[in-house]
Amino acid sequence: MPARDPVVTLEGVWKRYADRDVVRDLSFELRPGELLGFLGPNGAGKTTTMRLILDLVRPDRGRLSVFGLLPGGDQQARIGYLPEERGLYRDSRLVDTLAYLGTLKGLPAGEARRRAAGLLTEVGLGDVLRRKAGELSRGMHQKAQVVAAILHDPELLLIDEPFQSLDPVNAELLREIIRDRTARGAAVLMSTHDMLEAQSLCDRILLIDEGRRLLYGTVGEVRAAFGEGAVVVRGRDVPADAGRYHTVAVASPADGRVRFLLREGATPRDLFAELAALHLEVEHFEVETPTLEEVFLRAVERSRRAA
């Protein structure tokens, strides 16, 4: 496979559980060295998509390839995974557990142990290498599992809600690790609810809802798609109540100003006209690109209205 070929490719993939399609006609690519932010509300199908890539579940329809091959098989050893549902063997020593997980990824036992000890020390867990997981704090667990995911130097890293329950110091440490991995050429698929995190870290964004792709592109492209979606207004007695306007979906006051997220189809011009019709005294009117969070909300709202 040439170096820049996609690491992961999904084309029209479907997955059904019981009577519900949890992944519908999903297509995207993930390239080497790229960090793809995987966004969507709870139950959107993000975890199932990751499990499809890992061959933990199989698609009902569509084409899915990992490193140019069907999922599963030898390429499993080239993937690192940090699942949303995390855990370690409670009655085993941390270094033993990580060494075991390393051997399952194909590392020789001694090398796995050496790497586990080294990486645990790097993330500040050098003092608790020989402690049992049951004796560690949640944050320590989290860091140990991040180490488990990168121990074998994977070319593809799937991380599901990695910043969940991390304190700011450890969140920054994780950001460093993620940046380091992508800099080394690893492809990273990161599921997150944290839009600011996604906006600052990710190269591209994939937003899904109810298993369907809603948005896919660079952060700039995605925000630009809703380019005239937000307006900041400063004026006397401007109500910060979306219910007072036909054109506004969300209104939020901030620093003597009101930020309006426009309804689908409404333009800044429509809002301006509405403010004038209400005889409000406007001192400042500025069109802004919506934040990723606003994009997320509007895209989901649009999708659900269409359904």
């Binding site: 890992l54 599963g72 499993q76 995390r86 855990g87």
Partner: protein
Amino acid sequence: MPPGRFVGLVWQVARREYLRTVRRVGYLFATLLLPGSAVIFLAVSAVAAGGARPIEPSPAELTIHLVNESGVSLGDTFRPGLLRLVERGEGMALLQRGEIGELYILPAGYPGSDRVERLILPTRGVDVVELERRQRQAGLLEDLLRRALASASDLPGQTVERLVEPMRLAEATTTGATGRAPLSVAMFVLPYAFSTLFVISIFVTSGYLLQSVTEEKESRVIEIVLSSVPALPLMAGKIVGLGGAGLTQVAIWVVTALVGLPLAGERIPGLDQVRLAPEMAVLAVVYFLLGYLVYGALFSAVGALAPGTREAQQYAGFFGMFAVVPLLFTGAFLADIESPIVTALSLFPLTAPAAVLQVLILTPEPPWLLVAASLALLIGFAALATAASARVFRATILLYGTRPSLRRIADAIARG
């Protein structure tokens, strides 16, 4: 997946599961309970018997010192060395000096009166070995007196013999086959207890498997493991590793039995007749492995689909009932080893391991036709159970906190 990688993953998982299990306190306790109990029993019985004195007395210890004040001629009707006639004074002196344990006196009124005296020194307690020895002596003395009295009546020698030993029972069937040797309590109880332990071992080992799966599922570590090891080699590794732990346990028990039985046989009458035939030992291991494979596969699936440990144990208990059914039907096995219920239990895969073990204990020669049919069914069922369980395992292991519907389980088995 290439076979080499599959085997490598199975080995990694098996190695870890084996080492993790054999280091558990519960496992060590269960494994060492039998050898430990045997050592304690031998030690306690040796101490209770006053040192290393065995229950079986030597001929010298059985020698009867008798004062004959009756008119009965004892003559040469007794095996030499087992009777020493003494004068009352000499006998009393021997007794007082502790050179003999007891002195028998045949009084002047004998045989008009049936009274025979046994003089002993005063004691403060009961010595079980002494009681046993004196009981044997009394039997020998009764034998001696019968012969002496019969000889005095001028009866033919053969009649005297028959009066002393009226018959020796030989059993035969209507087809002319020789009946089996009578089963002593020890000959039955010990192998039976052994087979019960055996079934327990299958359960304990399958229980470790269940525990391993539910633990990984509850701690959520399963998802990380499954991202490296597909469901089938993971399940196979667990079955192999924990089966190895179970086999280690059984091996320790078998060695204990082989070493302990001859030693304990000196202390428990009838125990030295117990033999562990080589073919039975081999079949026991085969049935252990297949029984464990069947229950291990079922318990893996149960562990995967149960939402928690408690539910997993409840579901496993349902299957576990089958394994103990043959032990509940022991009466049927003792009454008629060829009865339909025995055959049915020996053929049904979930009851076969415990049932066939009982059949092997109770028959002088293994019933090879039944064993072959039972093994064929067990192997077939084990293969099906493993394949179906792997599919259920894969389909349900990542469902946290929810119980999959029967439809979903059936769908998983059918579609893979």
